[in-house]
Amino acid sequence: MTKEGWEPNIIGFLCNWCSYAGADLAGTSRMEYPPNIKIIRVPCSGRVNPLFVLKCLMNGADGVLISGCHIGDCHYSEGNFHARRRFAVLKRFLEYLGLDPRRFQMSWVSASEGDKWSKLIKELVEEIKTAGPNEVTGDD
């Protein structure tokens, strides 16, 4: 992949109740943000398995974002608490392996935070652009 004209490919795992609605709000409010993020809707941020992140990074994604309800607002009361704990471990571990920590990020976005969502994606895309294409992905 040449660096010229390269656009980052980011996968977002968004919880159904907050972040997905937040991203929807950004859309219906006509807020602009880069189209580099491909959204996958999940029931809860607690649904996201570290394997999802790994699979994305090993199959060509330049970045992975996990987004869910703010702490205390989880639709299932405690899903995001579990996600937070799990991904605190994964984040440090990926860094230890030498993978760029910028490629894996987490954020809490509520259903009313369309503006936060659009700002987050703008910043995220910029950050991944500085990180460059994900080169860990080779042949199968």
Partner: protein
């Protein structure tokens, strides 16, 4: 010492409290030791205990479900058993633990020395290091087979629908496998070192496990196998868990 151990085992059989006792016997080379499954009082005579008894016998528990089992356990095995009980994999009334003192060279001053050394390197150096190590992996899954904590009836590495990562012996697949194995042991690995001992190509697997062990201690003040009563690390949470990495 060994007679005392044999008598304890015989006593368990005499009182009909166990179906089988796990211990060690002399291997065919006459020097090293191998696991021994004791089914009656006569078998207990073959029991040995010395510094060659290295295997983590808790690993065999997964094949003995439903039986009443006695187990000769050194420090590592005791911790493994604690995790298995904590995760409801065993009923404590079906398990008779005979604790034995380990004959072991003195422990290193800093357990995490190798981890710290790696952490101090640059990201690209770390990636290069692990890529080189994982490139030797032949995906024999010996690390999984010897691990007392790897008890899933169907391992994620064996699933084909969906295939979570390549089963081919490729760098991508190898990296995925080793990361997944280490992540699945987060807050569960008690650092018995069996995976690294069993690895035929000498990948420093313990440096993966120890990194997570160290992080978990720092982040959540959690130590695997330290108590049966505590909840498994990733099955519980604290409202004050670190949150600084989340935007």
């Amino acid at each position: 010492m060994i007679e005392e151990l044999r008598n304890k085992v015989k006593e368990l059989f005499a009182s009909k409290r166990v179906d089988v006792v796990l211990g060690y016997q002399r291997a065919v080379d006459g020097v090293s030791a191998k696991p021994l499954f004791i089914y009656n009082q006569e078998d207990a005579e073959r029991l040995v205990w010395d510094s060659y008894c290295v295997y983590n016998l808790a690993c065999y528990l997964k094949e003995l479900a439903g039986k009443k089992v006695g187990i000769i356990a050194k420090a590592c095995d005791v911790k493994s058993i604690a995790v298995l009980l904590q995760e409801n994999q065993w009923k404590s009334q079906d398990l008779f633990v005979i604790e034995v003192e380990e004959v072991k060279p003195s422990a290193p001053a800093d357990k995490y020395e190798s981890v710290r050394k790696l952490e101090a390197k640059s990201a690209s150096e770390r990636l290069k290091f692990w890529e080189e190590e994982f490139s030797r992996c032949i995906r024999c899954y010996a690390c999984r087979q010897v691990c007392p904590m790897c008890y899933c009836p169907r391992c994620v590495a064996d699933q084909s629908m969906p295939a979570w990562f390549s089963r081919a012996n490729s760098l991508k697949g190898n990296l995925s496998w080793n990361v997944t194995r280490a992540m699945h042991l987060a807050g569960r690995c008690i650092d018995c070192g069996e995976c690294e001992r069993a690895c035929p190509v000498g990948i420093p697997l313990r440096d993966l496990n120890k990194k997570i062990e160290k992080d978990v201690k720092e982040l959540f003040n959690y130590e695997a196998g330290s108590s049966v009563e505590q909840k498994p690390l990733l099955s519980c949470f604290d409202k004050n868990d670190p949150t600084d990495f989340i935007k």
